[in-house]
């Protein structure tokens, strides 16, 4: 293999699995170290740079960082679990001081002065666009159909998971800095918005507001007791619905279904079943949301495909399902499907949570905005620009339902595009990602981070007891870690951003690093192609997704140093054992451009410690 090009920021970036896995590339190890030092405000602000809503996301993020966490791939006494990254984020939000004075205020003489930007929908994508463009002096107006901002964060996520105060606070941090938020102001015509209102650029962040329907016999007749999940959740959030029948069936097993079943329990249902068409391995809901629902005695029934609604005297009394049987091969793919028979479950209400679609009835089709065959606008994956220059899409409105953290990242990228568009620059020529590397060495065997491996198990976040939590709809179930619990959990982080940096010309091939590495990730051997090298490592390469760090030829024997990045615990023992400092531990900081950086602002320097 050719020597690894570590001057490309992508190489070390990918080593930081959590940060790489986060759509917004939040500096997870960086803020976890700040929490470890009880610098909660700093941790919150570092979070906010990337994900804008740490308090909200610290509760309800889809947390792609956690399945990515290297810790979950290791083995100590048994299998290890990922660091509770999301819960730690909440600790920073819960314990921080006031941060409003730390936010960048609008620069009235900035490059955005005199430019008017419209955002449609006050969800996380639009709010991120506003957050990023405000400091540059842009005049931003957000149009919202409902009487309050927040989008699905407010309407679709139940208050027992995400308190209203948290939403208000974090939206306030953006809006209070000078955004014009026009509530009760649905946009009914894109044409008039684009042509009559004099905006320099328009961003659409209207989400995917249309819940999927289920057209099976009885649907129309029983409509009074059949609800579309996201519409029903919205009605609950705005107090339009306050109760539901005793027996409730939820159709679908995604995260919306989990919110529907748990909300039902709080509105008077005492027998809630979630009906899944396929076996558990195919569930769309996140594992922890399934756990939380099952903790509340929601029954999840697999292999039931909806067939018909059953009515008696014009009223819904049950629902019939086909009992499915599946053949699954060794890879877990379904190879054959059979219907074994029918089964009917009695019920008073049914909630459909089987997905959602985009809907743009308000966009005229003669404005130069191209739509694809699913009636979704064609949006560029880098610039988020539609086929009409100056019109941008983000969040679920761009590529269909994803999650909040993706919407935030779309907002960041659209923010860059809108800035460049307004400045007359190309939206496709964007600033590349950069990085800084700084040695973490403080002295002999002394590092600026906690390098010893803490073999503690993942802490469970405490919950309100099963009796008390149902008393009111808005009792937040998760209590969050206390500062003391957080202090334990932070030590489980491996500090993957403290990189192992190798300088081949210093290496004397004494094998010290290879012998001391606890996870056998280092090898000195003759060079070969990647497949060949992966077959000759000290310990088997079990994860082809993770890169090999390959050095240039070593001075004494011409062999190469190979590091399998997969399981490195960043303990720094290789660097401690190296007599010539050929290995060093260096803090990697990703420089990911946002709109302010495109406009010339320097990247904020992170402390090593």
């Amino acid at each position: 293999m050719r020597p690894t090009d570590t001057s490309d920021p992508q190489y070390y970036h990918k080593v930081v699995d959590c940060q790489w896995g986060c759509p917004a590339h939040t500096d997870v190890p960086g803020y976890i170290r700040l929490i470890a030092q009880a610098k909660f405000t700093d941790a919150y602000m570092l979070n906010r740079q990337s994900n804008v809503f740490p308090g909200i996301l610290g509760r309800v993020c889809d947390r792609p960082c956690e399945p990515a966490c290297r810790r979950g791939r290791l083995e100590a006494d048994g299998e290890e679990e990922p660091v509770a990254i999301c819960r730690l984020k909440r600790v920073a939000a819960d314990n921080r001081d006031e941060v409003r004075h730390l936010l960048k205020q609008p620069d009235k003489s900035g490059p955005g002065r005199g430019k008017k930007i419209a955002c449609v929908g006050a969800g996380p994508a639009s709010l991120t666009v506003a957050n990023d463009l405000l400091p540059l002096g842009y005049d931003i107006t957000i149009f919202e159909a409902l009487n309050v901002g927040g989008g699905l964060m407010r309407s679709n996520i139940p208050s027992f998971r995400l308190p209203v105060e948290v939403i208000n606070d974090e939206i306030g941090m953006i809006v209070e800095r000078g955004v014009t938020l026009k509530c009760n102001h649905p946009i009914n015509s894109m044409k008039s918005l684009l042509e009559d209102e004099g905006f320099d650029a328009v961003f659409v962040g209207t989400g995917a507001p249309k819940g999927k329907n289920l057209s099976i016999p009885g649907r129309e007749e029983a409509r009074a007791n059949i609800h579309i999940g996201i519409e029903w959740l919205e009605s609950v959030a705005f107090d339009h619905i306050e109760k539901i029948g005793k027996n409730v069936l939820i159709i679908g097993v995604g995260n919306t279904a989990m919110d529907c079943c748990r909300t039902s329990l709080r509105l008077g249902a005492d027998n809630v079943k979630v009906m899944a068409r396929k076996p558990r391995a195919f569930f769309k809901a996140s594992a922890w949301e399934l756990d939380d629902a099952e903790e509340e005695n929601v029954e999840i029934i697999i292999n039931r495909s909806p067939k018909a609604f059953v009515l008696e005297d014009g009223k819904l009394v049950g629902m019939t399902f086909e009992e499915m049987e599946y053949d699954v091969d060794a890879e877990g793919n379904i190879t054959d499907t059979r219907v074994a028979g029918d089964v009917t479950y009695p019920c008073d209400d049914v909630i459909l949570a089987i997905g959602q679609d985009n809907a743009f009835p308000w966009i005229e089709r003669d404005l130069g905005i191209e739509f694809d065959k699913w009636e979704v606008p064609v949006v560029d994956k880098v610039s988020y620009e539609s086929t009409r220059p100056g019109l941008f899409f983000g969040g679920d409105a761009a590529f269909g339902p994803l999650n909040i953290i993706w919407a935030v990242e779309h907002g960041h990228q659209a923010g860059i595009s809108i800035h460049k568009y307004c400045q007359g620059e190309s939206v496709s020529e964007r600033m590349p990602k950069g990085m800084t590397l700084e040695s973490a060495k403080m002295g002999i065997h002394e590092w600026s981070y906690s390098n010893d491996y803490d073999d503690a198990d993942r802490l469970l976040v405490p919950h309100v007891g099963l009796k008390d939590r149902f008393k009111k709809l808005n009792i937040e179930v998760e209590l969050g870690f206390t500062a003391e619990q957080a202090a334990e959990e932070v030590e489980r982080c491996l500090n993957c951003d403290i990189q192992t940096v190798f300088t081949e010309k210093l290496c004397i091939e004494c094998d010290a690093c290879i012998d001391v590495c606890p996870v056998d990730c280092l090898t000195i051997t003759t060079n070969g192609d990647e497949a060949d090298l992966r077959g000759r490592l000290s310990a088997p390469a079990i994860n082809p997704e993770e890169d090999l760090l390959v050095s240039d030829s070593l001075p004494q024997t011409g062999r190469v140093m190979v590091k399998d990045e997969d399981l490195c615990v960043h303990c720094g023992l290789c660097a401690e054992r190296c007599p010539t400092a050929a290995w060093d531990m260096q803090k990697f900081t990703l420089e990911k451009p946002h709109a302010v950086n495109e406009a010339g602002a320097p990247f904020q320097k992170q402390e090593v410690a």
Partner: protein
């Protein structure tokens, strides 16, 4: 050295040996030697060899004297038996232990000072008795613990860190071992595990005294220009006379060996060493030829490495002494100690 312990976390794909153990189960405590010490690499090689042989850790006894090398038994086989003796006196303790319990695998770790100066007499007599053990001379040419004075293995002309030259001739442990009766003589280098690990495995399975002289650079006092035991000098003057592949009894020989260039030698437990000749005429079963060859290559300035001499047929200490096959700890107390009446009888016979 490191202040923290090596974490217990491990690679989930680590190979397990016939006993279901991973290489981590053969490790010991954290080394307190200088970072980059050759001795640590030898420790790593012992851990690997012991794991690959599938001998349970408690099937070993590790013994040492005094010196940097003699500290290393603390760093491998944490679950084995061990004895740290006085300076240069490890061979007598090993001899005694072996006499009492012949079932254990004995690893003696010594250095050039411990073996070639203060303990030379003990070293010689353990070989003369052909005690069944693996004896490692971790050879760096200096006294590291006392700040780097020349040892008895330093070459003429080799310089110390501050420049003074060594004028006295070196003792070559391999040539000494050939003369003094060791039945397995090898040399290797801490920086070449590919060569060292098979030699350690063969030495452990050999019945008799296996002596391996391992060049093990001292990074602190003897890894500079002018040293003849540095990493760089060792690599430049390293000469493989013969390569040894170790094949355990349960495995068949898979590699292809060309006729005449390879020589399989069966060890007493059924495992084999396949010797691949690098120098065409070299025969490691011919002691006289080996001795001449070593002297020749030494004059040519080469460090001759590999399995230099082996004699599987040579009798070891227990054969010569006709001692019991059963370890003493398995012989009933009444037989070990027949009592004062028996003692009186024996004494009266001698009057």
């Amino acid at each position: 050295m490191s202040f923290m312990k090596k974490p217990t976390v491990r690679h989930p794909g680590l190979p397990r040996n016939d006993l279901g153990l991973t290489v981590r189960d053969y490790e010991g405590g954290m080394s307190t030697l200088c970072a980059g010490c050759g001795h640590d690499a030898i420790t790593g090689a012992i851990v690997q060899a012991a794991h690959e042989l599938s001998i349970p850790p408690h099937g070993f006894a590790k013994l040492s004297g005094i010196g940097c090398s003699s500290k290393t038994p603390a760093y491998f086989l944490g679950a084995s038996h061990g004895f740290n003796s006085c300076h240069g006196r490890m061979p007598s303790v090993a001899t005694g232990a072996n006499a009492a319990n012949r079932d254990l695998h004995y690893i003696g770790v010594s250095g050039d000072g411990d073996s070639l100066s203060i303990g030379f007499g003990q070293f010689a007599h353990a070989m003369r008795r052909n005690v069944n053990m693996l004896y490692l001379v971790e050879n760096n040419g200096v006294y590291g613990l006392t700040k780097g004075q020349f040892s008895a293995s330093a070459d003429i002309g080799s310089t110390a860190k501050k420049g003074e030259e060594n004028l006295q001739p070196p003792i070559d442990p391999c040539q000494a071992a050939l003369t003094l009766g060791a039945s397995f003589v090898a040399r290797s280098f801490s920086g070449d595990k590919e060569q060292l690990v098979p030699l350690l495995k063969a030495g452990l399975q050999h019945r008799g005294f296996g002596m391996i002289d391992i060049i093990s650079p001292c990074v602190t006092f003897n890894d500079h220009e002018g040293s003849t035991k540095s990493y760089s000098y060792s690599r430049q003057h390293f000469h493989k006379a013969i390569s040894a592949d170790f094949v355990p009894p349960s495995e068949t020989i898979k590699a292809q060996y060309s006729e005449g260039a390879s020589m399989p030698i069966e060890l007493h437990d059924g495992s084999k060493i396949i010797l691949r000749k690098v120098d065409g005429a070299y025969d490691p079963t011919d002691k006289a030829a080996a001795a001449i060859y070593l002297r020749e290559r030494q004059s040519a300035g080469e460090i001759t490495t590999g399995l230099l001499y082996i004699n599987e047929a040579q009798q070891e200490m227990h054969d010569l002494a006709g001692s019991s096959d059963t370890p003493m700890n398995q012989i009933p107390y009444e037989r070990l100690n027949p009592g004062s009446d028996m003692l009186k009888k024996i004494q009266s016979r001698m009057r």
